[in-house]
Symmetry: C2
Subunit: 200 residues, 2 copies
């Protein structure tokens, strides 16, 4: 059994986008299984007194983040544009990702949502956009949107967010290897290295 790394990602998060586009190949090379765990940063930000992204609350940081993501993405051959509005409402995308993960298309869906938002400038807060993304993966968009409203799916997402808080997560992306927390796309390689040393 391969060692496991928990990948906590928020669909509205720019650096989660970059990590999501990189993690599969890096994990394969490292011999680590990734557990994709969509969660919501909103409740965590709210608990520390923020009602929006820190990139909006602190404009200098926000301007820097855009330029930093442009440079990071350019080096990786990824397109980057800040979507409007920012941050986007990620609740529906996260619930549909939970549906996809139980049905085997969650990873592919997650990457497609990130591409739609940060490369194509689409609004992932809209149900039609999410339905179209599911459809583009040759799954039933309407069925996925309906299933996303089921109580157990809502609970799965809520549990992931509570789990994130219990692990001390305060931003995204975050990675958990055993009892070690790693924050940020910049720590992906180090997190995989720690996971690799764990027994599977």
């Amino acid at each position: 059994m391969l060692p496991t790394l928990d990948f906590f990602y928020e669909f509205a998060s720019t650096y989660s986008y970059i990590a999501a586009m990189r993690i599969a190949r890096l994990a394969e090379t490292a011999g680590v299984t990734v557990r994709w765990r969509p969660f919501l940063l909103g409740p965590i930000f709210k608990a520390q007194g923020w009602d929006t992204s820190p990139f909006n609350l602190y404009p200098a940081k926000g301007r820097y983040m855009v330029r930093d993501c442009e440079r990071q993405c350019a080096e990786l051959g990824l397109t980057f544009r800040l979507p409007q509005p920012f941050p986007q409402n990620s609740l529906l995308a996260a619930r549909v990702a939970c549906v996809g993960l139980e049905q085997g298309w969650g990873e592919e869906f997650s990457r497609a949502v990130y591409r739609a938002q940060f490369a194509e400038g689409r609004n992932i807060g809209e149900a039609t956009v999410i339905g179209e993304i599911v459809g583009s993966l040759r799954h039933d968009g309407s069925a996925a949107l309906a299933r996303a409203q089921a109580d157990d799916i809502k609970l799965t997402l809520r549990a992931a967010t509570e789990d994130a808080q219990r692990h001390g997560i305060f931003g995204a992306p975050s990675f958990i290897a055993g009892s070690e927390l790693f924050w940020g796309n910049d720590r992906l390689e180090q997190a995989l290295g720690f996971a690799k040393r764990l027994t599977g």
Copy 2:
């Protein structure tokens, strides 16, 4: 003439410590001249409504920072301990660094201050500690402490902090290559790469 990278560092900043211990060798390899620019984060934090370090304001982030620095330092063979109190009062150290930089011992002094604070657990807010550090470098501690109170030295430090704000700097360490801002020890290599492409 070699291309230049401006290195903005704050003595109370844990990640500035790591960058300060790495930058000389990496810059030499890259063929880049580093301009060491001590500045104060306090006025910049105050302008965004913070009266202390964000690592104190947001405890989950603060706990993570300590563990992250332990891991980063372990990989680099550096000792790390969070000093008490944290953050330390860095005003005097920054002024003496300005003195040292005009007299040719500023870089060595800066590294020694970081080592004293983050490896040896000394309080760099105390004048006796700063004086001893200058003395350990075979310079006159009392003369440096006296010179640090001169108006032009105070102005040099204030100008560096204002310059940082003009560049959009919101944290430390930060690097400026031409018109590009890079934030964080994690961006040191990329900043040197950008600086290298500038004409000297």
